[in-house]
């Protein structure tokens, strides 16, 4: 197992480092470390606005969200050996020629990814906090505890989504049933006890009062979820190939008002037939944001009136912008390179498909505004959410072209993204907190977004189209 695991780790390193250089990739965790290290010195300032318990809640919620965002391995399971990795000739595919079961290879793949994300995000952040502890008055033990609980938060997010997506890959009906049962249980808890279930989140409990029993219970839950997810894995064997009637031609006719109807039609078919449109919406959008809502709602009393809704609208906008990775994950530029299609044309078409998907965050914010009794602010919140999403995606396109999920690990890319998006978000948060009407100011973002996309098209047309 170790050889395969090490081989996959090396492969992952080389995929990234050959694309934008070993240094740029190696600096990624260093930057996360730096952010945590320097951020630690701002803690006294932050505590004046937010008590430390709530600050811990925000940080844990962030790492839970990170786990949610990377944990949908179940969606890969059916295709992992075939589509995304097979074509790239990665070890997860080629190892099939070795006397190893596909479940074993998949296990290695998942562990490798988990370890990788841990060292890219979780460890550097926790270590930055530890390194700053001698200067910030935080005891080493407290800092180590934070690293432990952040790791657990990340793993909880990852394992929950891994488990749900693995159930989904096996049986969609079972997944809906499970979601119904969990939702009912969650709802009952809220109604009967009036308690926010986020307060029962094991890593948070552990952080506020460490006990060995709590730690063991947390680990046991993770092991059960992870083990069950691996057991549910079912590799896709090529049985009799399914046949489909031509959906492309009618779709092109229906999308004729789009800038590039054939490219948009292909994206729609890709998302529908791969099951991504439902799977990704559920596991990379609805469930993560639904859970995070409960965490953020604990901050309500420290925010201005309606602040929570607008803060959530901004967060939904940022998460909504990651839908760009959904439409770019099906193909490299390779298959288009034998056709008269420029990279800029493909980027335009991907943005069009992305725009269609923005219906999901818009509806989601509408539901949240309704459920939270703030229907009055639905329109400014939706405008804010969509403006943030389009602006963030424009920056993503400019920085990463058609390969957002790979190039984001280039430290220069992430740093620029954080600065360019972060400044805009900070200003918008301040404005929306000051007055709900100011949320409409976010519409201005459409102009820089448009300019940035224009610049991106020129930039990516000038780059060799060798596929990633």
């Amino acid at each position: 197992m170790l050889d395969l695991f090490i081989g996959m780790m090396k492969e992952e390193w080389r995929i990234h480092s050959t694309m934008f250089g070993s240094f740029s990739f190696a600096m990624f965790p260093v930057m996360i470390f730096g952010i945590a290290f320097m951020g630690s010195f701002l803690l006294p300032l932050m505590r004046t606005a937010l008590p430390s318990g709530n600050l811990a809640l925000v940080i844990h919620a962030n790492f839970l969200l990170l786990g949610f965002m990377v944990g949908a391995f179940g969606l890969l399971a059916g295709e992992v050996m075939n589509r995304r990795f097979g074509q790239a000739s990665l070890l997860s595919y080629s190892a099939r020629s070795l006397p190893l079961s596909e479940r074993f290879i998949f296990l290695n793949f998942v562990i490798k990814d988990t370890v990788y994300y841990f060292f890219l995000w979780v460890f550097p952040f926790g270590f930055g906090y530890i390194a700053a502890s001698p200067f910030t008055g935080v005891t080493l033990l407290q800092a180590l505890l934070l690293l432990l609980t952040l790791t657990l938060s990340f793993l909880f997010g990852l394992c929950v989504i891994f488990f749900l997506s693995a159930v989904y890959a096996r049986s969609k009906r079972a997944l809906w049933l499970l979601v119904l049962v969990l939702g009912a249980g969650w709802g009952t808890l809220v109604v009967v006890t009036g308690m926010n279930p986020a307060l029962l989140f094991p890593p948070l409990l552990l952080y506020s009062s460490f006990t060995l029993v709590n730690l063991l219970v947390s680990c046991a839950i993770l092991i059960v979820l992870f083990g069950a997810s691996i057991m549910l894995f079912s590799p896709e064997y090529s049985g009799p190939a399914k046949k489909f009637t031509n959906a492309f031609a009618p779709l092109v006719r229906n999308l004729s008002f789009f800038p590039h109807p054939p490219l948009a039609a292909k994206d729609m078919i890709d998302m529908y037939r791969s099951g991504s449109v439902v799977g990704q919406t559920l596991f990379s959008f609805l469930i993560p944001l639904g859970v995070i809502w409960f965490f953020l709602s604990l901050l309500g009393r420290y925010l201005p009136p309606h602040g929570l809704l607008f803060m959530f609208a901004i967060l939904t906008g940022v998460i909504g912008s990651t839908m760009y990775t959904w439409v770019t994950m099906f193909d490299t530029f390779g298959p288009y390179a034998c056709l008269p299609v420029a990279v800029s044309t493909l980027i335009e078409s991907k943005i069009t498909s992305f725009s269609l998907l923005q219906l999901v965050p818009a509806v989601f914010i509408a539901v949240v505004a309704t459920l939270s009794g703030e229907l009055l602010y639905l329109i400014p919140a939706a405008v804010l959410c969509l403006a943030v999403s389009f602006y963030s995606v424009a920056v993503t396109v400019w920085l990463t072209g058609l390969s957002p999920s790979v190039l984001v690990y280039d430290v220069k890319v992430l740093f620029t993204y954080i600065v360019v998006v972060g400044i805009a978000l900070t200003i918008l948060t301040g404005l929306a907190f000051a007055s709900p009407d100011y949320a409409f100011v976010s519409v201005i973002l459409i102009l820089p977004a448009w300019l940035v996309v224009r610049k991106a098209k020129v930039k990516w047309d000038a780059v060799d189209t060798a596929g990633f």
Binding site: R83, K243, F244, N246, C338
Partner: protein, 241 residues
């Protein structure tokens, strides 16, 4: 004879590696031209540059009178391309893929043309199967169909026969020979010398990115020399040079 494809000192370097090194080449209209060379000699890089997928680091290349750096999309509009490794998009069926290509290329009677290709390459039973579920050979047939569906003046093919069974190889070789008789041009890259000798009218030999020789196949036939012997002696000599 009109020159369809021309390179002057065409070069591509990746860091220290010279993938293509000052190659000067001309291919006339109606030729079935073979670019030959061992693995890693720069054949695929040449095709990628000629189709505007990779920018040269030196020299120039014109295809059908168009500069490949200035007009990469226009070049791809006029030519047909079969890349060595690329496969058709995963979640479209074979028919949908040809429909997709036809719509992008503005071919009015694409269904009729697609049906002809399904019949001709004998894979009509797979037209409604997703591309990801097709065998390698069938994917190659599909890629072949997409490259010729608009009957381009020039087709550039990287390893045209590599995934075909012997029967299909025969069908394809016959098609390629017939295609150039109608005045159109084909540029293939291969390391299968027997195929090149059998169907090509002209050839060039690349080794370590450098052009070792270019000329008509008839020149060898006249000397009663096989292309494979000529190729091997030339490449071996260069290896020891």
């Amino acid at each position: 004879m009109t020159t369809i494809l021309e390179t002057k000192d065409l070069s591509k370097t990746y860091g220290e590696v010279k993938a293509v090194d000052h190659v000067t080449l001309a291919v006339g209209e109606g030729a079935l031209f073979g670019l030959l060379g061992p693995n890693g000699s720069g054949k695929t890089t040449m095709i990628r540059m000629l189709t505007g997928q990779t920018r040269p680091t030196g020299g120039t290349a014109t295809v059908l009178g168009l500069d490949v750096v200035q007009n990469p999309v226009k070049v791809r509009e006029k030519v047909g391309i079969i890349p060595e490794q690329e496969t058709p998009p995963s979640f479209l069926t074979a028919m949908e893929y040809l429909d997709f290509v036809g719509t992008i290329r503005n071919i009015p009677d694409v269904t009729k043309r697609a049906d002809w290709w399904f019949d001709f390459l004998d894979f009509g039973d797979k037209k409604d199967v997703l591309c990801k579920d097709l065998s390698r050979g069938t994917r190659q047939k599909l890629m072949f169909a997409q490259a010729f569906i608009h009957e381009p003046a020039l087709a550039l093919i990287d390893e045209p026969l590599i995934n075909f069974d012997p029967i299909m190889q025969d069908v394809v070789k016959e098609y390629l020979s017939g295609y150039v008789k109608s005045g159109r041009t084909i540029f293939i890259s291969t390391h299968i010398l027997e195929v090149a000798e059998e169907i090509c009218s002209g050839f060039a030999i690349l080794h370590k990115g450098k052009l070792l020789h270019t000329g008509p196949v008839a020149e060898l036939t006249g000397r009663n020399e096989h292309l494979s012997d000529f190729f091997l002696s030339l490449v071996r000599k260069d290896r020891h040079a």
